[in-house]
């Protein structure tokens, strides 16, 4: 009898906890039928997006974080913006004139207002750009230090003056950190107030930020292109753990979940109401080779042999399960200077690789060390091990050395890199000049020690060439030479993998921005 009473009390306590737990439920992550949005949610018109890392700050100049920018683009407008084809188009700027190779005059659109009601003027542009161009503590400073000053001509007209000819200026002004800030609002209230109550000119305005939990935005009534009616609220929820993010998508807790790992693609696609959508990212994964004298990889034939021995197609289609496209260039589609012949294309010929090694005097092979991060890029460790296996087929013994990311960064900064290391390089400017600069000798002296006189000449010329057509050709030519000379073995361009509720019409973009006005309900 006593035993039964004890059982009863015990079960009662447990049931009570569970029942209390079940009784609540009004927040955005309430589960609904698998993958289906309930009718209440449609009425709410709330777009819920699961992101992997919290926003860093509302200081648009003091982060270099894509997921932070993916939120900022909804609140701040750039002077220029890339269209769907990657072509830079004016956004806040209505028209512009290149005065000389150091000066561009621009005129702002009339009638653009900040969320606090202040009108956008040239003074705001001067305040914004000169801040990031002069304060070396800001993380975006290296990308804007090329700007010398902004001269205000009148309320809507201003001139951007650079220290030296800057052909990438428009690309710089159409990327991360180039949103325009409200000068008067910040000067009157101070930075701390701005960071807690940010104000921009974008389609959505700030409502709430609970750190490591969520950021909520609401439509801006006086957006210069008209109020966005599609979503009454856009909520970016921070869910660092991959499996949790996937579960939220499957239960309808979120409408969009970024960075879904390949292991979960089948789970998302087989679930009724959810699917994986992919788009090519702007990150190219490659092996950075050391061309230092005395190493086998100093010989271009050896570098070519490594390129021919690695089956980029297998890496992209098998190891990454189709989550990448093989490439022979660092400059992907949508980038200025992209060479289409080198994209979706790769060298693979084991016999040719062996012949090149024999010609270079390494018929019996040699040993190299491949340093690789683990968990930084999609399937990076698996890719490194697969490469080791592929190179073994041409008698190159690869010792794979995995490094935790911070140690990996330190290894690179200390120039302690061995014959090869695996890295994925993005390009937030979408200007190929930014990528091919990696071949510049002075930049990587003591690191890769790669030097090609023709590439050096083209890099020097393109860096100051204000003629876009010529510059485009110069960058393409650099890519073509590199594809032959193989300073680095470019492997593949990663895809962005996003889980989406099928009731949402969302087309991802290479820049990985989540621009709410472009996301529709079906």
């Amino acid at each position: 009898m006593k035993r039964k009473a004890f059982y009863g009390i015990f079960l009662f306590v447990i049931s009570a906890i569970l029942l209390v737990g079940c009784s609540g439920g009004t927040t955005t992550s309430e589960p609904t039928d698998n993958g289906q949005k309930d009718s209440e949610k449609e009425v709410d018109k709330t777009l819920s997006v699961a992101i992997g890392a919290d926003m860093v700050s509302f200081d648009i100049h003091d982060h270099n974080n894509t997921s932070t920018e993916a939120i900022h683009v909804n609140m701040f407008n750039y002077l220029f913006k890339k269209d769907a084809n990657g072509v830079v188009q004016p956004e806040l700027v209505e028209e512009y004139t290149i005065i000389d190779e150091l000066t561009v005059e621009m005129k702002l659109r009339a009638g653009v207002t900040f969320h606090n009601g202040d009108a956008l003027t040239s003074e705001d542009v001067k305040f914004t750009l000169e801040r990031v161009a002069t304060d070396d503590k800001l993380k975006e400073y290296p990308n804007y230090k090329q700007i010398k000053e902004v001269q205000v001509v009148d309320e809507l007209t201003f001139r951007v003056v650079t220290h030296a000819p800057e052909p990438s200026l428009f690309h710089r002004l159409s990327r991360l950190g180039s949103g325009i800030l409200p000068k008067n609002y910040i000067e009157e209230n101070g930075w701390d107030h701005f960071l807690a109550n940010p104000v921009g000119t974008g389609p959505y305005q700030f409502k709430e930020w609970v750190r490591d939990d969520h950021v909520t935005l609401v439509p801006f009534e006086n957006f210069y292109q008209g109020k966005v009616e599609e979503w009454d609220e856009v909520v970016f929820r921070v869910i660092p753990e991959n499996s949790t993010r996937v579960s939220e998508l499957l239960t309808g807790g979120v409408d969009i979940a970024v960075n879904i790992p390949p292991a979960d693609w089948e789970r998302v696609n087989s679930n009724e109401g959810t699917s994986i959508v992919q788009e090519i990212s702007n990150r190219v994964v490659m092996l950075i080779l050391r061309s230092t004298e005395g190493l086998p990889t100093a010989d271009p034939r050896v570098r070519q042999a490594l390129d021919y021995a690695i089956d980029d197609g297998t890496l992209a289609n098998v190891v990454l399960q189709g989550g990448a496209v093989p490439t022979k260039t660092m400059v992907g589609p949508g980038n200025f200077g992209h060479n289409p012949e080198l994209y979706d294309n790769y060298n693979y010929d084991v016999e040719k690789a062996k012949a090149l090694l024999a010609e270079a005097g390494y018929a019996d092979g040699f040993e190299i060390t491949l340093q690789s991060p683990r968990g930084r890029y999609l399937q990076d460790a698996e890719v490194a091990e697969m490469i080791a296996g592929m190179l073994a087929a041409v008698n190159v013994t690869v010792k794979v050395e995995f490094l935790e990311w911070s140690n990996f960064v330190e290894m690179r900064n200390a120039n302690e890199n061995k014959e090869a290391y695996l890295i994925g390089l993005g390009n937030s400017m979408f200007d190929g000049a930014y990528s091919v600069d990696w071949y510049r000798y002075e930049r990587h002296k003591g690191h890769t020690d790669y030097k090609n006189d023709k590439i050096e000449e083209l890099l020097a010329a393109s860096a100051v060439n204000m003629n876009p057509d010529e510059r485009d050709q110069q960058i393409q030519e650099i890519s073509a030479i590199a594809a032959e000379d193989v300073p680095f073995v470019t492997l593949y361009q990663e895809k962005i993998n996003i889980g989406v509720n099928n009731n949402i019409d969302f087309v991802p973009t290479s820049d990985e921005m989540i621009y709410a006005p472009s996301i529709k309900r079906k």
Partner: protein, 304 residues
């Protein structure tokens, strides 16, 4: 008692300083945070420039001196990641962690105390084997895995609870169960062994021989005496709870101190790491002090 408390409170100060020194050294040797702040293609010049502007190019003793000057004013410096003072950021997350930790401890106590007593009174019975075996098995399951399994079962399959985030009490159930049941597993075994020791004492035998009902012998005479080790165990579990929140908060996207600390370590956000560890150490020391005070209340024979 008052003197004892004052002495214990004063002891906290050197302990916190020692902990701060250890954390400072560990963070210092862990490497350069600037390397992680800039993108892959940042030049060495950019890295050096940022390092200098953040004062990270200073030698160890200068950095430690600056850190200590700030510490005595409870200023841990600015977070590199959030670019604002670290302590308010840490304190902002504290309520979420306290909420989760309290719920987990309640669950642990509610499960462990009855189960531990029951298991001890039925020593070597199938019930005892089941309870102790279950406790070992549960303890062996990592929080990380258990949390994901709970999500799959209770959220994805059954749809009973939200998957993640912090909101109403329904959001609390799965993370608290994940953390609480793990602690309960350990506590059950410790309570069982503590109870077994008490149950073999002469005064228990005397009580039984006087004809007092077994229920009262166990729950009044034995349990009261077994409470002192239970209080010790519960206080010691504070550090286990803190360790558990690091994982549990990450799995359930619970915006607490654990998740903040994990991210701070990953990004080498020194100020946040130092402030978080300082607060956690303070909480653990305080819990131990509380346990000492409770001893006195539970057993008047204890004198300080």
């Amino acid at each position: 008692m008052v003197k004892y408390l004052i002495r214990r409170l004063l002891q906290i100060i050197p302990v916190l300083f020692i902990i701060s020194f250890i954390v400072f050294c560990l963070v210092f040797v862990a490497g350069d945070p600037v390397a992680l702040m800039l993108p892959e293609d940042a030049s060495q010049e950019d890295i050096e420039q940022l390092r200098e502007s953040l004062g990270l190019n200073e030698p160890f003793h200068i950095q430690y001196f600056n850190y200590m000057v700030g510490l005595v004013q409870l200023d841990f410096g600015d977070s590199f990641r959030y670019n604002s003072s670290a302590l308010p950021i840490v304190l902002e997350r504290l309520p979420a962690t306290l909420e989760l930790a309290a719920a987990a401890m309640i669950i642990a106590i509610v499960i462990a105390i009855p189960l531990g007593i029951w298991s001890a009174t039925k020593k070597n019975s199938p019930v005892d084997f089941l309870a102790t075996g279950g406790a070992v098995l549960w303890k062996a399951m990592p929080n990380f895995w258990l949390g994901i399994m709970f999500i799959l079962l209770f959220s994805v399959t059954l749809g009973w609870f939200p998957v993640s985030g912090r909101g109403d009490i329904s959001h609390l159930v799965l993370p608290a169960l994940t953390l609480g049941t793990g602690i309960a597993a350990e506590m059950t075994r410790l309570i069982r062994s503590s109870m077994l020791e008490i149950l073999n004492q002469d005064y228990i035998r005397t009580a039984k021989s006087k004809g007092i009902r077994n229920f009262f012998v166990v729950n009044k005479h034995a349990f009261r005496n077994a409470l002192i080790p239970v209080v010790t165990i519960t206080a010691l579990q504070t550090s286990t709870v803190v360790g558990g929140t690091l994982v549990t908060e990450t799995v359930f996207s619970w915006p607490g101190l654990g998740q903040l600390l994990i991210q701070a370590v990953n990004t080498r956000d020194m100020a946040i790491v130092q402030a978080s560890v300082f607060i956690i150490a303070f909480a653990v020391i305080l819990m131990n002090l509380l346990a000492d005070i409770l001893y006195k209340l539970l057993d008047p024979r204890i004198k300080y």
